[in-house]
């Protein structure tokens, strides 16, 4: 039973979107198993729905929104530290995603 704080936007997606924040150390069910948040995750951020290999496309809304730059474990935070754009690099402040 997927944690109600997580939202699946399209059946083919490999990420889930947070409807509410999850605190560091909290356990949550990502639908195919359980994970523990290794950092505080804010509303609107994404976690992996399954293991994602380096080079694999990230799917949200059923569309490709980027490429994994390193392996991402199921339940892990999917963001600027492990995903790159296929178009232009993302600008973020230095401590983003860590």
């Amino acid at each position: 039973m997927t944690d109600p704080r997580l939202l699946l936007l399209s059946p083919e997606d490999n990420v889930l979107v947070l409807r509410r924040g999850i605190e560091a150390g909290e356990r949550f069910d990502f639908g195919a198993g359980e994970a523990v948040a290794d950092r505080s995750l804010s509303l609107g951020h994404k976690v992996a729905r399954r293991d994602i290999a380096a080079g694999e496309p990230i799917l949200k809304y059923g569309a490709v929104i980027g490429v994994a730059t390193e392996p991402i474990a199921a339940g892990g935070h999917v963001h600027v530290h492990n995903v790159r754009s296929n178009y232009t690099p993302t600008y973020s402040l230095p401590d983003e995603g860590t």
Partner: protein
């Protein structure tokens, strides 16, 4: 039974406000123009202007479109006297529409104080007539509505943007023209979007406009993506694009506009905001208000502004309806927000319900109800250098 009442203009359009604009034609006239507007605070006297001293066809076209916008009833132009802006041409274009207009040249009238006094006298003379002007019945089909998202986060594409899209679908069904924009925030969705074009030739134009944006931003080295987008959970420009694209709703796309082009029919239009030619003047739009100015130049009476992180801006000339996508932001900033779309995320409302609420609010605001940003006195405005080629023949539907 008409929906509301509007101010008739000589070109056949109607306005939902009757603003007197005070427009500086170069930065050196900005202070004088601002001082004049401050003497009429809380009345519909709005400050707009162009800061540059050197010629720019786009700025000239934008100022003409804005000073003859249906929400504008008169204009006061402030010139220093030696800038490149063609004040005479702009004044003639405004006068030709029957609106009261005057140019004050600061060098000629004798400096700051004299220019402020003369400007104040002009506004005092014409404002009462604008405030007392008769309104005629107006229909939803006569409206032009724009949409923009700013301060987007991971909630924007799930709640606020699709809700704005539902409102667009409803307004288009009633005959309104609706405009979505920022081709640089459609990068990655161009093929899905092109599939909604009314003609194959328009589909090619839509794809080309996004390809142009991708090239332009790649040259700049940045996407249309701010640090706060990442803090809010957005990871890439194509992710932001997918969310932004939802603002367009589900109607067929009937045309592609560039700033200053007026939609000839109702229906859904894309506004191409990325300059043509080589990268010359830096960022296509340095902030959200630059985009709002361009939507207004295409005749937008009202703009729907979707924010997740929490923007506070309004605009000169056309009211801004703020749709808050993020429930946490809404709780912090409710005073600035017209619509709480974040409740969709918490299961308290359906998309369609919020879409209907936005549509109803558009008609209420068109009828004179004040938006939050109007109430708070927000009248942000910016206009910068750009360069565009005219749109191609495939871009517009035949006028009705």
């Amino acid at each position: 039974m008409s929906a509301f009442a509007g101010y008739p203009r000589s070109d056949g359009r109607k306005g939902i406000r009757n603003v007197l604009v005070v427009a500086y034609l170069v930065e050196y006239a900005h202070h004088v123009a601002r001082e004049i507007t401050l003497r009429f605070r809380d009345r519909d006297v709005h400050l707009i202007g162009f800061p540059g001293c050197y010629p720019n066809d786009y700025a000239q076209r934008m100022m003409r479109a804005l000073c003859t916008h249906p929400n504008v009833g008169g204009a006061l132009l402030l010139s220093l006297g030696c800038e490149s802006f063609n004040a005479r041409l702009l004044r003639e274009e405004i006068a030709a529409t029957g609106r009261p207009v005057k140019t004050i040249t600061i060098q000629q009238v004798g400096g700051t104080r004299a220019a402020i006094d003369e400007g104040e006298a002009f506004v005092a003379e014409h404002l009462p007539a604008l405030e007392a002007a008769e309104r005629l019945p107006m229909e939803a089909s006569e409206l032009v509505i724009g949409t923009i998202c700013g301060g987007s986060d991971g909630t924007s594409g799930i709640t606020g943007n699709p809700a704005a899209g539902r409102a667009f679908d409803k307004l288009i069904a009633e005959g309104a023209a609706c405009i979505f924009e920022e081709t640089g925030e459609l990068i990655g969705c161009e093929h899905i979007m092109a599939a909604r074009a009314a003609t194959p030739a328009l589909a090619a134009e839509l794809e080309a406009s996004v390809a142009k944006a991708a090239r332009y931003y790649a040259t700049l080295g940045y996407g249309s993506f701010a640090a706060g987008n990442a803090t809010g959970g957005l990871t890439t420009i194509e992710e932001k694009s997918m969310g932004a694209y939802a603002k367009s709703g589900a109607s067929p796309i009937v045309g592609l506009l560039k700033p200053g082009d007026l939609p000839p029919t109702g229906g859904l239009y894309l506004l191409d905001v990325v300059p043509d030619g080589e990268v010359r003047f830096g960022f296509p739009n340095i902030n959200d208000n630059a985009e709002i100015a361009e939507l207004m130049a295409c005749g937008a009476h009202i703009n729907l502004f979707v924010t997740g992180r929490g923007s506070v801006v309004g605009s000169a000339i056309s009211p801004v309806i703020k749709i808050c996508a993020n429930p946490e932001t809404y709780r912090r900033m409710a005073d600035d927000m017209d619509v709480d779309a974040g409740r969709i995320l918490e299961g308290h409302a359906e998309l369609d319900e919020v879409g209907a609420e936005i549509r109803d609010l558009v008609l209420a605001v068109a009828g004179g109800a004040k938006t939050r940003s109007e109430d708070l006195g927000h009248q942000e405005f910016i206009l910068t250098y750009k360069s565009f080629e005219p749109i191609g023949p495939a871009c517009l539907p035949a006028a009705e």
